[in-house]
Every structure is written in structure tokens, then in C-alpha cells.
């Protein structure tokens, strides 16, 4: 496979997952697109052999770094580690929530959004992108056991919330 084909196939394959990942970090479509474009441009400078069989973690890692760069530049106050929607987490159950008790999956987005950002991120990488613990670790530069811990904690919180309803 020549290089252009290699790049084209990776763009085709990962464009959407990367966009949604970047968007989840940035919450701004333009920025997310920029981050993804930069990621692929950087891919153009890589040797296919070098990335063989680890294209996905590489792409997500670069995309993440680019996203954080953009975030720092555009939004210097906010840091990655703090939960973004802390205020929401303390809310009472809304009428909507109570009404929707029969349909737990409808509440999932709400619960997910209440999780700390780092937990949300690994959950997304795991369940949307289907990366392994190791790949997530590579992408987020956390240790594998830390990834395991974040995922476990996040999932546990979600489970408890679902049960408490």
C-alpha cells in the first residue's frame, strides 16, 4: 500500500471517531475539526511502517494533544482535570428525570455528563472507540492501571445512579 492510500484509508476510517472525540474534549465543532485536520496532517509526515498496528492509539493521542493545545489557547482558564459540570452534579432530580424513570437509557447522557472529565474521557475511548486499556493509556498518557481505575470508578458511579433511580 502506498503512502497516500494509507493516509486516505486512515482518514476514511478515523475521521468520524476522531471528530467526535475532539468534539467531546472541545465542545466546539470548528476547533474539533481543526484538531482532527492537524492530526491527519501530522500523519502525513509519518512512516507507515513505524505506526503499523498502532495507528488508532497514535491518532487519538495526537488528536488529544492537539485538542488540549487548542483548549489552552482558546480557553486558558479551564483545566482538563476538573469536572466541567460540577454545578449540575449537585442538582436535585429534575421532573424530567423522575418522569423518565421507566427509561433508564434516556438518563444515561445526563449521568455521563456528571462524571469527572477524565472518567468521561476514558469511558468514551473505551466504549465509543473501542480502544483497549493499553491503547487508552497510550493515548491519555496515563498508566494502564490508572485507566482501569478511572473506568471502574466511572462505571460504578453510573451503575449506582441507575440503581438508585
Amino acid at each position: 500500500m502506498d503512502k497516500e492510500t494509507w493516509i486516505t484509508s486512515l482518514v476514511r476510517r478515523y475521521e468520524r471517531p476522531l471528530c467526535s472525540y475532539a468534539f467531546s474534549l472541545l465542545r466546539n465543532l470548528e476547533w474539533a475539526r481543526d484538531a482532527v485536520q492537524d492530526t491527519f496532517l501530522r500523519l502525513c509526515g509519518q512512516k507507515p511502517e513505524k505506526l503499523k498496528d498502532r495507528e488508532a492509539p497514535w491518532l487519538f493521542r495526537v488528536c488529544r494533544n492537539r485538542s488540549l493545545d487548542i483548549l489552552r489557547k482558546e480557553n486558558p482558564v479551564q483545566s482538563m482535570s476538573e469536572p466541567q459540570e460540577a454545578s449540575i452534579a449537585s442538582e436535585e432530580k429534575s421532573p424530567d428525570e423522575q418522569a423518565a424513570q421507566g427509561d433508564l437509557s434516556r438518563l444515561l447522557p445526563r449521568f455521563l455528563s456528571k462524571l469527572p472529565k477524565n472518567q468521561r474521557e476514558v469511558i468514551r475511548l473505551k466504549f465509543q472507540q473501542n480502544l483497549s486499556y493499553r491503547e487508552i493509556a497510550h493515548c491519555t498518557q496515563l498508566s494502564e492501571s490508572n485507566v482501569g481505575f478511572l473506568l471502574h470508578t466511572g462505571i460504578k458511579t453510573l451503575r449506582e445512579q441507575m440503581i438508585n433511580l
Binding site: R12, L112, K126
Partner: protein, 735 residues
Amino acid sequence: MKFERNDPKLTAYALGELPEAERTAFEKELETNPEARQAVEEIRKLAGKIKDHYAAEAQMVLTEEQHETIRQAARKNRKEKIIPFPRKPWIPIAVAASIGGILLMLSGSIVIFSTVEKREVAFCPPSPVFSRQKTDLQKPRVKMKKNAVAGSTQRIISRTQQSLPEIEVFGSAGIAQGFVAENVGSGVMLGDAEGLVANQWGPSIEDYAEIQENKFLRVADQPLSTFSIDVDTASYANVRRFLNEGRLPPKDAVRIEEMINYFDYNYAPPRGNVPFATHMELSRCPWNEEHKLVRIGLKGRVIEQAARPPLNLVFLLDVSGSMNQENKLPLVQRAMTMLAQQLDKRDHVAIVVYAGSSGLVLPPTSGANSRTIIAALKRLKAGGGTNGGQGIQLAYSTALENFNKDGVNRVILCTDGDFNIGVTQGGDLNRLIEEKAKSGIFLSVLGFGTGNTKDSTMEQLADRGNGNYAYIDTFNEARKVLVDQMSGTLVTIAKDVKIQVEFNPARVAGYRLIGYENRMLATEDFNDDKKDAGEIGAGHTVTALYEIIPAGQPVNNTPDIDDLKYQPTASDALAGNSGELLTVKLRYKEPDGDISAKLEFPLMDTARSFSETSPDFRFATAVAGFGMLLRDSDYKGTLTCEQVLEWAARSQGNDEFGYRREFIDLVRKAGTLLTPTPAQEPDVPVYEHIVYPGETIWDIARQYGCTEAEIIRLNKITDTRQIKQGTKLLVPIPE
């Protein structure tokens, strides 16, 4: 080991992430600990829900400019020489597909799986025929590599690292051919340069190529109308997705010809030696009484079932929650339905599904009972977690029960690769498959969906199971892999099929081709064999509709120009006129030919009311009309949703697969969206929000405590890029 709620091992185990050594110990512990088992079960269930949630997220893509930038950068970094790119986006697919088809015809029982990302391909050869096909100079070249094979039953893995192909397809009598699939992939990929991007990468909420609707053309100026046939159907699926989500599709997502051609029409196959039959029909145009409507229908030759070995197939289908996407389970269902239609009494099919649990939904059933098979496929629904291990066991034992020693015994696994929630994980699964492969049952793994697909797992499985792995992201790809290549029955019967219609000025003042905007060809392209066009498969139908303005009426509401002094006038033409309205000319090449043949079919002008027409004509008209309504076409005339609904409802025919019924449901859904009742909204107090720089709908939804969907609905947003600084948005205020 004591069970501990806070032990991350619980989650790691449930997600299949526990290293092998720890897993065995953990499983022992689980046996004695119901609480832990319960927790693992819950985690898996939740994992399925989370996947569903992400799967349903809006899909975002880069802009076309960004794609272009990346393409340029990719090209700059390329060392190989630049080869010319095709001008028409669909050509590379056609090339790859038609070559696949040819090979198939060559090799009878050959089973080829092309992989896009991977380099290995398995095939079983006998190949008795000689053929030679030159690829057109303008096309990206597709590399085929010849492998001499001794014997006819070995599995061969050909591996190549070769780069840009500059190639001819060749083979010779008695020599089996290896098909280097990677390079077929390359051929397809290369085409991306010009617009395959939009086609293959599929549409998204944000990006659609603008469609300039075909206008009415004056016959005096342009007596010839030329276009390429199109068998793509992606637009319909996309429109359906939007409507099922309760939204109207963006106008440019509606490609009418793809909607019309989504449906099969009951045209009689050709007699004699031509590859297709033409079926024309004419009536008054139902949305403009002054106009007429002409349908041109093509039906591909139906190929006799070649002598191929009987098939003993077990479909092993992943129906977990993550498969609940248009390009996953529904695609699996359609693909498998198409495959089932190709089978006959020699063949057997069973269906095993798996999600949280697995089961046999269809016991081994003769291919002659395709209705039963198709009905079983139709009933499938996605939901729940994934436990691939059990499913595989069941599939293999089912295949073994019905083992046919003279035939092909194969488990076809369709999944998006979310195997990581399975009890049988990693090594165990591989061992199981390896062992089963010895019994002579082969495994084909078909990966569905984009992005989420776990290649390595699926590929390993295929490798171990003496099988093959293919990645399927579009219906065409599915057709190619499953039907063209696997059963070898649905083959390409003609390629570069072009249609040119000549209108008789004595009868026709103007005409408009409905849809096919992206398929238009220049008049001179028709006779130019270097210009590529679409291909048609065995038994396929292609349908096009023209709206016709009869002679004597103004075209585009402008008065006629004066008759030219030196040109024959309409009345002159009438003198020698045979009462023909138009003549359809078709050009096509045999699948392995370079030189096109031409067919001509005249259509006599008659006066016929719409209600006298055939059900197929009315249904195609309903679909076209629906497309025009969704596009808010300038030419929709008096057309209403109710009319479309009525025509469709009365022309359902036997509708074996329920496609037409589904269409009717969609029209109903669209009906309420197209005519919003103003009384619905005012109950909610609304605030007018002015968008700040960098603010997204999500941000706004957060601020007001509503959802993104509510804002999108309330403001009828079809393109989130419309939201810029200063845009005024209505925001519902919850009490």
C-alpha cells in the same frame, strides 16, 4: 481473593481486559461469589447501554476544504509518480466491483474477500477460463497478481507490499489466480481524490455536496439527454435515518435517483442475447396536468445458477446494542437478504444471533425457502451487550450438524467487533476457532460499521478459522463481497452503461430528468468508450423518470423562441413523424469488453392517465415525488404528501421484503414534519438567544437547561455550521 466492590478488576474482567493469568483466578472466585457475578453482569449491561448512547451520537466530519488540504499533504509526501485520477467519483468502485465480478465468473466457486486495511486474502481456486481485461487509461489501475497454484483446494495467502499499481488484469487457462485484495482496496482509495470522498465517507449532518436540480431543457436547444446509470442507494437509507429521528433530511442529502433505485421493480428480464431489457411507460404527469411523465426502466439479464458447490452456511450475527446503526445491523440484514435470494435447494442456511445471550433464530433451512430465511432476518433487532463466544460455539455446532462434504461449509460472522465483553476471550476464542477449523468448517468474518470496528480481533478470528475477513461499510461493498463474490451468482452483466434519450421535437417541447444530477454526461460522452459509467448486475433494475412538456407549450414559463429560418421546424419534423415521442439509446460494454454496443428503443406517444399505469410506474413516481417534496423542488407543482402516500399505498405489489411498506411509513412521518402544525410550539415559553463567539448549541442547551435536540428542532437547524456569532436562536425555557 476476597470480592471487593471497588476492585477495578471487576470492570476489567467484565470488559475482557484482564490479563490471562489473572483471569483464571478471577473466574474461580466468581464461581463462588454470586454478588460479583451480578456486578459483572451489570457492568456488561451498562457497557452495552453506553455503547448505544455513543453509537447514536451525531456524526461529525471535516469540511471539504480540510479534506482537500489533507489530500494535498498526503500527495506531497508520496514518492510514487502521480497517476491520473478519475473524473467521476463512482468509477473506482465500479472498476473494483466489475473486476471482482469477472474473477468470479472465471472461477466458479471462488470465494474472495477483499480487505481494505489488511493484506491477506484467502481463496480457493479452480479457474478454468481465460480472460483479459484492460483497464481504461483514465481509471486508477488495479493490481491483480497471478499466482500459480498446484491443486485446487489449498488456501492461499498472498501477501504483497507492492505500491502503486500500473496494471492489467490477466489470467490464463488452467492457472488459478490470486487476487491481491489490498490493491483492489488501493484502487478504490485512490479514487478518493476527486469526490469519492463524499460518496464513500457517506453523508453527515454537516456536509453534503450541493445538488443543482436538473432544469427543464428545450428540445430545440438540446434534443439529447445523456446520463450514466446509477445503482447506488445510499441516499435513501440516509433519508430514512433522518426521518426516523424525527427530522427532515437536508435537501442535498436527498438524491432522488438513489431513492428510486433503492426499490426493485418487477420488469421482465431480457430475452435473447442482450444484457438487459428496457421497459418504458408513459402517462400524464400527476403533479402537472399539462405535462407527461416517462419512465425508462432497465432490467439486467438474470443469470442461470452456474454449477457451483452447494453451500452450508450459518450466519452468525451480532445483534448487540452497538450494531444498532444504519450501517450495521440493517446493512447486515439487507446484505444477507440479498445473499439468501441467490440460494436454492442445494443450499442450507441457519442463523445464530448473539448479544448478551445467543440463540438459534433459524434452524438449517433449505435455500429454496428463501422467504423463511428472509423473514427470520427481518425480525432481528439490535440490543444488549455482546457475548461472542457462545454464539460461535453454537454456530459451529449448527454447521457441523448439517455438514456437506461436497459443499462449502462456512460460518459467516457479521459483527462490529465488540467481542471484548465475551466470556470466551482472546486466546480461548482463538483456540476454539482453530479447533473447529479442522472439522472443515470455514469462518468468514465481516466487519460492519466505521471506526468502531475492532479489526485485530476479527482478523485473528478469521485467520484461525481458515477464513477471511472483509470490511463492509456500504451496501455496495456488502453486495460485492457477499453476493458477487461469495455465491458467484450475481455478477456484473454489463459495465459503462449510458443512456441517451433523443426527444422528437414534433412531440416534445421540453424535458426534465428527475434526479441523476451527479450522473449527467456530455452528449459526446455517449459514444466515447473512454468515458466510464455505471455497471449493472444480474437481475438488477435501474429506473429513470423524465417529466416532459408536450410540443406547443412554453418551457420554463418563457415563450418559445422564433422558429429558425434555416433549421427544420417542428412541423417539418411532424411530416415525417412516426408518432414517436422519444428514442432511448443505451450503450454498454460486456463486463470484460472494451468496445461498447448500442441498443435503441423508441417510445410511441400515447395519451394515458396516471391511474392506468402499472403499479411499478406509480410507485417509482411516488418515490420521485417524495424526493421532490423533501428537496422542496421548484418543479413539484401541485404535489402533496397525501398524493404520494396514496400512490405508494396503492402500488405496494407483493412487497416481499416490506421495503415499500417502510417507504409508506416514512412518507407519513415526513408528512407531519413537512406541514408543522403551528399550534404545537407556543405552549413552551421561548427565549431569543444571540450566539456568542465560539458558543455551540451544546453550550446554549446547558445554559438554559434544555437539550441540543430541542434547540435544533425549534430552530429547524439542518446544518450546525449555520450557527455563528450573532445568530439568533430560539431557546425553550423549561418551567
